[in-house]
């Protein structure tokens, strides 16, 4: 479904990611592991069209997307929940959700249906639908970011560190929800530092180090890999 082929991205003279190859198949959950600054978010920004690769190609279902603007990429079915959520803080929860459905703005009935589905997945968002997004707790804001992304009915969802800054119990719920979203038909590419939780729901993973992918394999293989265990799982 999604292919990154030898993608390199630069910020000025600094090469943030180098010759990255990633493949995500339909229906999978794929996880990107690695420390802060290893290049996971840059990879996401490149897929979303916020950054143009210096070298290499990004393909969605064999269609080149690396030179398309961000709004076109959303229209093609890739949506991103960024690490800092990028909500509209002074808009209400419901208004944020509605903006998530921007690309479907002409299909009012479909939007209503999707809204219902998302509220069913995150009932707390329904309770808080009239509150400004900025007033929600961290966990609720993360749910809203995911909910807003779901409103565009994506084929592929990019989730950048959804567990960051959340309490352990909330993290567990978050991963349950991600599994649920995947089961309902959305392919997921997930960046995480919480390797244990991420690998337990993922099909396969890539490990980043200093802008390179150093290890890749199925979740089982990564769990079994001694170095990965030491560096990211801690057991």
């Amino acid at each position: 479904m999604l292919d990154l082929k030898n993608v390199s991205v630069k910020y000025g003279n600094f090469t943030a990611i180098k010759d990255i190859n990633i493949r995500v198949d339909k229906g999978e959950i794929v996880v990107l592991l690695g420390a802060n600054g290893a290049g996971k978010s840059t990879t996401f920004r490149t897929i979303s069209g916020l950054k143009t690769p210096f070298k290499g190609n990004v393909l969605l279902e064999d269609d080149l997307i690396d030179n398309k603007p961000p709004d076109k990429i959303v229209k093609q079915g890739i949506v991103q929940c960024a690490e800092d959520r990028k909500l509209f803080p002074e808009m209400s929860v419901q208004e944020n959700m509605m903006m998530g459905a921007y690309i479907h703005r002409k299909k009012k009935n479909k939007i209503k249906q999707t809204l219902k589905e998302v509220y069913k997945l995150f009932p707390v968002l329904y309770e808080k639908r009239k509150n400004p997004a900025g007033s929600l707790s961290g966990g609720q804001q993360q749910m809203l970011a995911i909910g807003r992304a779901l409103m565009s009915k994506p084929k592929l969802m990019l989730l950048d560190e959804p567990s960051i800054g959340l309490a352990p119990l909330i993290v567990e719920q978050m991963f349950e929800s991600i599994k649920q979203i995947n089961k309902e038909g959305t392919t997921i590419l997930l960046a995480e530092q919480n390797a244990h939780a991420a690998l337990s729901i993922a099909d396969k993973g890539y490990v980043y180090e200093n802008g390179n992918i150093v290890v890749e394999g199925s979740s089982k293989e990564l769990f079994a890999n001694e170095e990965v265990r030491k560096a990211y799982i801690g057991a």
Partner: protein, 287 residues
């Protein structure tokens, strides 16, 4: 008592114009994240275009306003495309320099075409009418009604339509807007268009009771800055409320203190309000 009511109505008139100008400024602030210094020049150009269409083509005042607001809306969009868009990855100081450059350019341009003389704009609504016991000119009544209608329409557009909401969304989080699939170029152009329309509307409405000249935008834009600082940068209710606060205090101040000081009042208010509430009145509220 009569004097007070009369002055309150005058305040409502001036406040309506200030609010229109400040609204455009605050909307564009959401896109540029700097105050657009050239906004006052758009205001001035709006007045001149209305004036020229009336005098040279002989069109009706209202029809001339309509033409003028569309023309200035287009000029504003052109300014975004040709000046601010190419600078989108540069620092705020470069935006500010560009905005001041546009201001100087438009003013010199106006002086070249229309000369430096003061012009008087005629209005077909000069008649004096009795309005709930107040003696007012029809023109002032039209200013208030048109401004309020324009503000209500703008509010409904921003709150009730997807397209309008994109303006708010982009102001609150530009990358967030990208990530939900909003074409931010289109939003920027739309915002500049609306801002130009509001400036030209304000100028054309108020010109028959003031005068038209190349630097007519200076004081108005300074006050619009005061208004959006008082109301909270980027806040829409803040711009409206701030406009009326300044309008009322000026007209009341002119009567009970001295008309010589009416322009100082808004700046004194700025100092007082910012001392009490440094973030502005609506800093956290938004729309």
């Amino acid at each position: 008592m009569d004097v007070l009511l009369q002055q309150l109505f005058n305040g409502l008139t001036i406040g309506s114009v200030y609010s229109l100008v400040a609204l455009g400024l605050t909307l564009v602030y959401g896109i540029l994240h700097i105050p657009n210094f050239a906004h006052g020049a758009l205001y001035m150009v709006g007045a001149y275009i209305t004036y020229t269409i009336m005098t040279s083509l002989g069109l009706h005042y209202l029809l001339s306003i309509l033409t003028s607001i569309i023309a200035v809306g287009m000029i504003s969009v052109l300014m975004e495309r040709l000046v601010f868009h190419p600078l989108k990855d540069s620092t705020p100081i470069q935006h500010k320099v560009a905005a001041i450059g546009m201001l100087l350019f438009l003013e010199s341009f106006a002086q070249l075409i229309w000369g430096a003389d003061y012009q008087q704009m005629e209005t077909p609504f000069g008649q004096v009418i009795d309005f709930f016991g107040l003696t007012v000119t029809m023109q002032r009544l039209i200013i208030v009604i048109t401004a309020v209608v324009a503000m209500i329409l703008l509010y409904l557009f921003l709150k009730k339509t997807f397209t309008g909401a994109t303006i708010i969304a982009m102001a609150q989080n530009r990358e967030g807007a990208h990530l939900v699939g909003i074409n931010t170029n289109k939003v920027a152009m739309l915002t500049f268009f609306i801002s130009g329309v509001l400036a030209a509307l304000g100028a054309s409405l108020t010109s028959p009771i003031n005068l038209v000249f190349p630097s007519m935008g200076h004081l108005v834009i300074l006050k619009a800055f005061v208004i959006i600082i008082i109301g909270g940068m980027g806040s829409i209710p803040g711009a409206i409320l701030g406009g009326y606060i300044i309008g009322f205090s000026e007209s009341i101040g002119a009567t009970y203190i001295s008309s010589d000081y009416s322009d100082i009042i808004s700046f004194a208010l700025l100092v007082i309000i910012l001392t009490i509430k440094p973030q502005g009145i609506f800093s956290k509220g938004g729309v």
